[in-house]
């Protein structure tokens, strides 16, 4: 375990192992090489980073700032999370105030607008000319998950970078590197499972890893499962298929076993079911019916009813659905 007085950025592995140079970044090779060129030229247009969570958008924005400003990067770097501050006044006031003044060291300041697809359309409108009026003093880096939520005039003012989820090979290498540094063992199956549930989201990978390592220094698949508390979609699908065939008792046994061994709550299960249904090989109209029923069960659960009873009722309903 970590000592109490350690600073938070060392306690959290995600901060501890956040790459500090371009060369430490895994994946996104093309993007990294272009950004390097911008930094060494000390000149760049506004940037728009688009991609799934945990793919390195914030990390690269921070590296750019550190490379450009060195020690004084904090004074020249404004980080705003648009999902917390998404209104127009943030743009009209906070952003403009920061953009107006000159950089302390380095060619310009950087405003990093994280999750900028959460900005209201009005706030995005207000951003347009702001991005232009202060180009002498300021550059913007916008990050988003869905680029189609960014209004076109803003896209026009930026160069677009598309980040991809980190692929398995890179996720594996990160896990192994951390395992070596933190001195724990991890089985290949555990690595596979972490990759499966994280879907290439490196932030998620590292958080799961740190939690596992807090429990044991020998991480197995079941350690990961106990942390994730997420029913694997495959198992849920098996249970649903069984119930849909009319085998109520079999499905119930599988479900209860799963809940007990993984420590899943009724809400965990119904959440997993509602998304697993969509991947079943049945008619689309039937899926609507099942999700509808899921919703009702979830509502009853949220009111505090008995979770086992409610799930049994659901399975019994599934068992007669084919007729």
């Amino acid at each position: 375990m970590v000592k109490k007085e350690a600073p938070l950025e060392l306690i959290l592995w995600n901060e501890k192992y956040r790459p500090k140079t371009f060369d430490e970044v895994v994946g996104q090779k093309e993007i990294v090489s272009r950004l390097k060129a911008f930094v060494s030229a000390k000149n760049m247009p506004h940037l728009l980073f688009s991609g799934p969570p945990g793919s390195g958008k914030t990390t690269l924005a921070l590296i750019i700032a550190k490379k450009l400003f060195g020690e004084r990067w904090r004074e020249n770097f404004l980080e705003l999370n648009a999902s917390d501050e998404r209104g127009i006044n943030v743009i009209r006031e906070k952003v403009k105030d920061f953009a107006r003044t000159k950089a302390f060291a380095g060619p310009f300041k950087i405003i990093f607008l994280d999750e900028s697809d959460a900005l209201t359309r009005e706030a995005q409108q207000a951003l347009r000319r702001t991005m232009e009026m202060f180009t002498a003093t300021c550059r913007f880096i916008l990050s988003c998950n869905a680029i189609s939520k960014i209004i076109e005039p803003i896209q026009s003012r930026c160069v677009v970078f598309r980040f991809k989820p980190i692929d398995k090979k890179d996720v594996e290498s990160v896990i192994k590197r951390i395992a070596k540094k933190e001195k724990f063992k991890i089985s290949q199956k555990a690595i596979d499972f972490i990759y499966e549930v994280s879907k290439g989201d490196l932030r998620r990978v590292i958080n799961i890893l740190q939690s596992c390592a807090a429990i044991t220094s020998n991480i197995e698949e079941k350690t990961v499962r106990s942390i994730v508390a997420e029913a694997s979609p495959e198992e849920i699908k098996k249970i649903l298929t069984l119930a849909l065939k009319g085998n109520f008792l079999g499905a119930r046994k599988m479900l209860f076993d799963l809940m007990l061994s993984e420590g899943l709550s009724g809400l965990d299960v119904i959440k997993a079911i509602s998304s697993a249904v969509l991947e079943l090989d049945i008619k689309e109209e039937k899926k609507i019916l099942i999700v509808d029923k899921c919703g009702e069960i979830e509502f009853r659960l949220s009111e505090g009813s008995d979770e086992f009873l409610q799930l049994e009722a659901f399975l019994a309903w599934l068992a007669i659905l084919k007729s």
């Binding site: 911008f38 506004h46 009209r92 180009t135 960014i150 677009v160 509808d292 919703g295």
Partner: protein, 369 residues
């Protein structure tokens, strides 16, 4: 320096194409005293040089620009305080002013009284006013359009953009494959600013740009509007996850669907679709009641996949209508409020309860109060 700044037009001739617009705008300014309409509404797609043209003219003919744009708070008071003085007659020796009201489409509901005040300013002004928008279809501009001279800037051709990029390459001493420049122009679809940005991106740290380099370039995307999303829900039989890519809140989706379903769905489909809307509505209410945000999953599922699958086959949807319900509800409430107010007065005059007066009002509807 950013290239979009570095190569910003300094003279009118630097602005790419748009010859007709340049001519009209110059004519307007040089004959301003004789103009009946005292304002110009400059419109056209983004990145073709609307704002740049105004600045190029100001630079060349020594105008002082007073600019308000969407990054400014623009309510009635602010307009009066900033522009009220600027529109007045100046002494002969003062620098000629040019009022630039940029990004009309960015006016928000917080900018109260903005358009009305603009109309008034245009009536009174002694200085030229230029309004700029990239959305000339905006309903809110109807009155304004009548008071302004409309000048349109057109989407740039790929050839013009290539020419512009070549010129920049020459100045930056960069060798670029002609094919590369054509590809940039094509992907930027008439937007010169985007093209310059992309060129700077490709040129960073290089002296030569070949086709290989293009791989690193990511395309911009059309913004997905609510209309697009609604269209897909009504046309297709698969609309899963579609709301994740739309910048609209869930209440808006309800209104849009409610307005449109009736025009395209019939009989059983209609019944099923409304059943889905109704269920989504129940779950929305449950979110507020129980603070259980997971229910949002069901709300958006019913609104998208639920409504999409209420029909047996794909449909062709011609035109999505704007929701009027919110407006109607507001109007009904206004009317009711008036009637209640009237009923209160009548009640005290006729010595009856407000409730009775309200009921009796129906039979008195031909009387003039």
């Amino acid at each position: 320096m950013m290239w979009t700044e570095k190569y910003k037009p300094k003279k009118i001739s630097d602005v790419v194409d748009q010859e007709r617009a340049k001519k009209s705008l110059l004519y307007f300014l040089s004959n301003f005293k004789k103009q009946r309409k005292k304002a110009v509404l400059l419109h056209g797609p983004y990145g073709v040089g609307k704002t740049s043209l105004v600045y190029a003219i100001a630079n060349q003919f020594n105008y002082e620009i007073i600019e308000l744009n969407a990054s400014h708070f623009r309510d009635k008071k602010k307009l009066q305080s900033i522009l009220g003085e600027a529109i007045k007659q100046k002494s002969l020796f003062a620098k000629q002013k040019l009022i630039l009201f940029d990004e009309l489409e960015g006016i928000t509901k917080d900018d109260r009284g903005c358009l009305e005040e603009l109309l008034k300013l245009i009536e009174k002004t002694t200085q030229p006013i230029i309004l700029v928008t990239s959305n000339i279809e905006d309903d809110r501009l109807r009155k304004l359009k009548r008071k302004c001279l409309l000048i349109e800037l057109e989407k740039l051709s790929d050839e013009s953009i290539v020419k512009l990029l070549k010129e920049i390459c020459r100045k930056e001493k960069i060798k670029a494959d002609e094919k590369v420049l054509e590809e940039i122009a094509r992907s930027c679809d008439g937007d010169a600013r985007a093209a310059i940005n992309d060129l700077q991106f490709l040129a960073a740290g290089r002296k030569e740009i070949n086709k290989e380099a293009l791989k690193a370039l990511s395309k911009r995307e059309k913004e997905r509007t609510v209309e697009d999303a609604i269209k897909q829900i009504l046309e297709e039989r698969d609309a899963l996850g579609i709301l994740q890519n739309v910048n609209a809140n869930i209440d808006e989706i309800f209104l849009w669907l409610d307005e449109n379903i009736g025009y395209f769905y019939r009989g059983y489909e209609l019944e099923k679709a409304y059943e889905m809307l109704s269920k989504a509505d129940i779950f929305k209410a449950r979110i507020t009641r129980q603070q259980h945000w997971r229910f949002l999953f069901y709300v958006s599922f019913f609104l998208t996949q639920g409504v999409a699958l209420a029909k047996k086959e794909k449909k062709k949807v011609v035109e999505i209508r704007k929701p009027l319900k919110a407006l109607k509800i507001w109007m009904i409430k206004q009317k009711q409020a008036k009637r209640i107010e009237l009923a209160e007065k009548i009640a005290s005059l006729m010595h009856c309860s407000k409730k009775t007066a309200y009921k009796e009002l129906f039979f008195m509807r031909f009387l003039k109060f």
